[in-house]
């Protein structure tokens, strides 16, 4: 299949009728179309698949708005407008014109998803055109829809093709491209044909032949039922293996998270300790203030009290009762402070002696001593309080800092651990063990079934030999036997061919994939396609092959390599002489139409991917923006380009025009529009 042109009529943002020629040659297979973001590159990609299958990709929003908004807006209520996409292409030596479209009647301002019809015409040898009765079926036979994703795709999403879990679907789809599907179907259909034929043997073949045929039929029934069970078991096994692998992946994530969890536990312990220390320091400070805080205010008071007491002491005017030393001194001097002589045993002497008794009271003395002692100690107590408070505040500050730092660390670690997919390790481990056990049982049952099928096949062969020797006189039965032998022989041959093709296709695809990938990548990685069509990347580390985790970029390169390899192999195998006989020269040829062709690849990869695709694809339509396409991509693709175009976006959203410069010539890229937003498909070359 090679596309020669596409014509869009009021299709999404492409207003009016616009045609773009795509006819390319083997030497110049590339069409390069530039478009700004939102210009309509994805729409153009979808125009191809809509024309072929009537569907749009999931990333197209507002799918019901099929008619250009500006056209719909001015359409009078009740009037109809044409919506269509037309493709012309050639396939296996025939020219086709495909049209999908409808007249969309306006019944409200909101568009309803239109139901479009499809027509397909084939150009006959005399130049006349013949309409094909079942157009959609014919299209499916040219390029089955599920296979189309290998040829019409968005470069930014292509990595899904090689993601884990995708390979079962890929393997299924690829069977069609690599001519495996028709063999499998034949193997499914031929036993039914045989059963119809052998009915005549049972009916007219005589007792012996009929008996043998009944035994063969029983064996065939057992074989069919075993094969059905095998198919179900193999599908179950694939599902279980996929599930087991995802559990192992989760366990691996847990293993990688274990050091983080350990660190988090340590930080959590330290944080609890820091908070306790901080709170203890705060309590201690509060206690100091509550119990000894007053000391801070005693400095001046103590000084005043000491000075006053000292003065009074000097003057002997202590407010306290008389001091004994003072009275003793008066008695020793023999004179009272009032001047009276204190002669021994005189009345005055007795009076003063009486005072001595009173002045000598221990209570008074103690009070004075306490007062003066406390005044002396106040200063040191105050200093001590100051130091204690300073120490408490210092500890509070330090612990607060420690708490803040640890809280930050905890938050960081929680972020690393916060993955909702993580389940409890023990649960996962028990799930893994359960899955392993179930896988083991399925594998054992599959083994039993396979050997049972082998045994049945041997028995059928033996019975067939017996049948061929049995005497059959009836002509109808003899003919039925000959026909059944023919069917059986072909069925056996197809069985062998399927086994040979499967292994051949896998190994050739694997080898091509390695070649293409090596041309593109700068890394020492080697892709490998397993017997289950699972794609993995490996690196040789000192002679040991280690699996490499794939990044998005690597997945994109791997996917593009895979598409290129499939595309080339599909053509190559049909050029070989095979059971299907001679096929047309372009059998297995399909165009590759890529939107956002180079995804997020850097310049080096863009260049290498461009080169690989241009050299391998029989027809390549690349839709790119200026930022994706200018430079390396244009430089690399230029020698292969047959058509160059721009999707000019006319928009009311801007006032300044923007051009794209190709070969030193400026072409419109973005144009301001006064009344409507629309896209214009303009050919440059």
């Amino acid at each position: 299949m090679r596309i020669n042109s596409i014509t869009l009529t009021n299709f999404r943002q492409f207003s009016g009728t616009q045609t773009f020629e795509l006819q390319s040659s083997t030497l110049e297979p590339v069409t390069l179309i530039f478009g700004a973001n939102g210009a309509g590159k994805t729409t153009l990609l979808n125009a191809f698949t809509w024309a072929l299958y009537g569907t749009l990709s999931e990333d197209v929003e507002e799918q019901q708005r099929m008619v250009t908004d500006s056209v719909w807006r001015v359409l009078p209520m009740g009037d109809a407008v044409e919506l269509a996409v037309e493709l012309t292409f050639d396939h296996e030596g025939h020219d086709f014109r495909l049209r999908r479209g409808t007249q969309v009647r306006k019944e409200s301002d909101e568009q309803q998803k239109p139901a479009a019809d499809v027509w397909l015409w084939q150009t006959m040898a005399d130049g006349s055109s013949e309409e094909i009765g079942a157009p959609q079926e014919r299209i499916y036979s040219i390029l089955p829809q599920r296979v189309s994703r290998f040829f019409f795709f968005n470069g930014e999403r292509i990595e899904k093709l090689v993601q884990k879990g995708a390979y079962t679907e890929v393997q299924q789809d690829i069977k069609v491209l690599l001519d495996l599907e028709q063999v499998e179907r034949a193997l499914d259909h031929l036993p039914k044909v045989d059963r119809r034929l052998t009915a005549d043997i049972k009916k007219y073949g005589g007792e012996r032949a009929s008996e043998i045929q009944t035994a063969i039929d029983d064996l065939l029934d057992r074989e069919a039922s075993s094969r059905d069970e095998l198919t179900v078991l193999e599908a179950d096994l694939a599902t279980l293996i996929e599930e087991r692998d995802s559990v192992i992946e989760l366990l691996r994530q847990h293993a990688s998270a274990a050091p983080i969890q350990k660190e988090r536990d340590r930080v959590a312990g330290e944080l609890a300790d820091a908070r306790t220390q901080r709170d203890a320091a705060i309590t201690e400070r509060a206690s100091l203030v509550a119990t000894r805080g007053f000391l801070a205010f005693t400095d001046e008071l103590a000084a005043k009290t000491a000075a006053k007491a000292a003065g009074l002491y000097q003057k002997g005017a202590l407010p306290a009762p008389l001091k004994r030393e003072f009275v003793d001194q008066l008695l020793e001097d023999g004179q009272c402070i009032c001047g009276t002589a204190l002669t021994r045993d005189s009345a005055a002497w007795h009076d003063v002696t009486g005072w001595r008794q009173r002045a000598g009271l221990q209570m008074v003395e103690t009070a004075w001593q306490q007062l003066s002692g406390q005044i002396t100690q106040l200063s040191s107590a105050r200093q001590e309080l100051h130091e204690s408070l300073q120490s408490a505040v210092k500890r509070i500050t330090a612990e607060r800092d420690r708490v803040a730092r640890l809280e930050e660390a905890m938050s960081e670690l929680d972020g690393q651990l916060n993955d909702p997919r993580r389940e409890d390790v023990q649960q996962l481990e028990s799930k893994r063990r359960d899955l392993e056990a179930r896988i083991g049982k399925k594998q054992a049952r599959i083994g039993v079934l396979r050997s049972a099928i082998e045994q049945i096949r041997r028995e059928i062969e033996q019975k067939n030999t017996e049948r061929s020797k049995a005497e059959v006189t009836d002509e109808l039965a003899a003919k039925a036997r000959a026909r059944s032998d023919l069917v059986q022989a072909v069925r056996h041959a197809l069985d062998k061919i399927l086994t040979i093709r499967k292994e051949d296709m896998r190994s050739r695809l694997d080898s091509k994939l390695k070649d293409v990938f090596a041309k593109i990548t700068i890394k020492p990685y080697v892709p490998r396609l397993s017997s289950d069509f699972e794609l993995a990347l490996y690196q040789d580390v000192n002679g040991v092959e280690l699996p490499v985790p794939k990044s998005t970029g690597e997945n994109q390169i791997l996917s593009v390599s895979f598409v290129a390899a499939v595309s080339e192999l599909a053509r190559e195998i049909r050029a070989e002489r095979r059971a299907e006989g001679e096929l047309p020269a372009d059998a297995g040829t399909y165009p590759i139409v890529m939107d956002a062709a180079f995804g997020s690849l850097d310049q080096n990869y863009q260049r290498e991917v461009s080169r690989a695709l241009a050299q391998m694809a029989p027809q390549l339509v690349v839709l790119v923006s200026k930022s994706q396409g200018l430079g390396q991509v244009v430089g690399e693709l230029k020698p292969y380009v047959s058509h160059l175009g721009v999707i000019v976006i006319h928009t009311t959203g801007i006032s300044k025009a923007e051009d794209i410069e190709l070969d030193g010539v400026a072409y419109p890229y973005v144009r301001p529009s006064s009344d409507a937003d629309y896209a214009e498909l303009r050919a440059i070359k």
Partner: protein
């Protein structure tokens, strides 16, 4: 000279699709080709029952 390879075990050559085809009779080859043509033409119809088509093909080869 003839003993040069003595002691070494050569892997049997891998059977090819062509080997399988060559073991079939002319009728069987014709029928196999026809079967694949019929199946290819209806690949897009998943539930296609091709028993009648295939039966006709058998009868065309062995009338």
């Amino acid at each position: 000279m003839a003993q040069a390879d003595e002691g070494t075990v050569k892997a049997p050559p891998r059977r090819t699709e062509r080997d399988v085809l060559q073991e079939l009779t002319a009728d069987q080859q014709r029928f196999l080709k026809r079967v694949l043509e019929i199946e290819r033409a209806k690949l897009h119809v998943k539930a296609a029952d091709l028993t009648d088509d295939l039966l006709s093909a058998v009868k065309a080869i062995l009338p």
